[in-house]
Amino acid sequence: MIDDASLAAWCDAMAALLDLPIERGDRAEILANLRLIARQIGLVGDVALDDLAEPAPVFRA
């Protein structure tokens, strides 16, 4: 589980790197969404996948 301080630091760093004007939004809501996303990433990670598993094809030549 990611702690709130780490998530807030991630949010601010990513906003600076991506030039996202998060001050025009609601930082508390953004952090709440990041917490939700972190939980979803954790659920995805619960499934053991082989290192060589291929991602879904999203491009065809």
Binding site: C11, L18, L20, N33, Q40, L43, V44, A53, P55
Partner: protein
Amino acid sequence: MSLTLDVLRAAARDIAAAVSSGQMSARAVTAAALGHVDARNPQLNAFTDITRARALAKAAAIDAGHAPRGALAGVPYAVKNLYDVAGVVTRAGSKINRDNAAAATDAFVVEKLEAAGAVLLGALDMDEYAYGFTGENVHDGDSRNPHDPRHMTGGSSGGSAGAVASGMVAFALGSDTNGSIRVPASLCGLFGLKPTYGRLSRRGVFPFVASLDHVGVLARSAGDLALAYDAMQGRDSGDPAQAAREAEHVLPLLSQGATGLRIAVAGDYFRRSGRPECFAAVDAVAAALGATRDVVVPSAAAARAAAFVITAAEGAAFHLSRLRQRPQDFDAAVRDRLFAGAMIPAEAVLRAQKLRAWFRGRINALFEEVDIVLTPATPCRAPLSGQKTIEIDGADVPVRANLGLYTQPISFIGLPALTVPLWTPGEHLPIGVQIIGPPWREDLILRVAHELERKGVAHAPVAP
């Protein structure tokens, strides 16, 4: 020429037959439908744009023999406002897109419907940029459920559901990335079809998550779904995700019914986190079909989570320039979710895409053993408009995050899926059951839906 058919309740096929035979004029049908839009739309807020002049011109052309009297001759329909309609700005539920020029041409599937003789009445309300399950929109107002306007339509194709359930049109186009056709179909008591990913061209449809976006249709019968779906099929080099398959028409197959199909009810994930009425609806459908088998869709929670991650990341990437330049012009709830989505690490997105391929393999194996899987379409009936939480298993859970609980794992791997509407005696709001088939077998899910209609289990009355 006088009206001999109640065009506000009639099936599309009956309207087309009446117009094609000369029993009714397309002009009379169109005028009646536009009159109903004028009467009902102020309360229901389904339409954002009414293409009156275009509709009347098309109807006159049909009557004069200058436009085709095809399978949808004179049938009134409308499209979610993310479809390009020539001369109309494709707003996609947003404030920002209103500054764009009007579309120069129709979307591919709109062209196909026009060629079949259908008459477009306008464009329909939706959640901003299709990122929502409620049908609520801060710019255009919330779409209202015709069966009780105090309640939400569901979304994001909320206006599409409202227009069909109120009888303003015979069918409407929606789009479905995570459940945006199947959810409002459930909440508004309609049949709603999301075909296989890559089946129908999305050219001229404003994207949300390109790797998950589908176009589809809502109607008041399985037959009308099949009629519109068949008309929209066709190869189009303009959508790079469209599969290299020829049209496979389903309407002639509906009468085959469900006999002989191996039908199962999904357990585990799909029997949790819902209100009792959603499971009762699945049981009623299973009983009507004689389905006694249960199956487990493996890792459905992880699949839903992966769909969530891909949606957030890909949606944010698509909107990044708008987020930087006009953050104040987004719906705040959409903006803050997109901000968060932009910050997802690449490894998490790639892992979600790997899970997608893995999950598809597991489900393909499941479909070696069964032909159809039944699940709830939504965990509850339509909440009140503006309602933030629903009570499930004694706990209050967020409406917005949970309406797509049962649809997201299915669209995640592009399976064809369809909502059928059920009504419980004493209840004035419907609830839907999701019928899922293997890839490219829209015929099977439509046959089952048609069978349920024939047995009187599923039906979609026009709201009084």
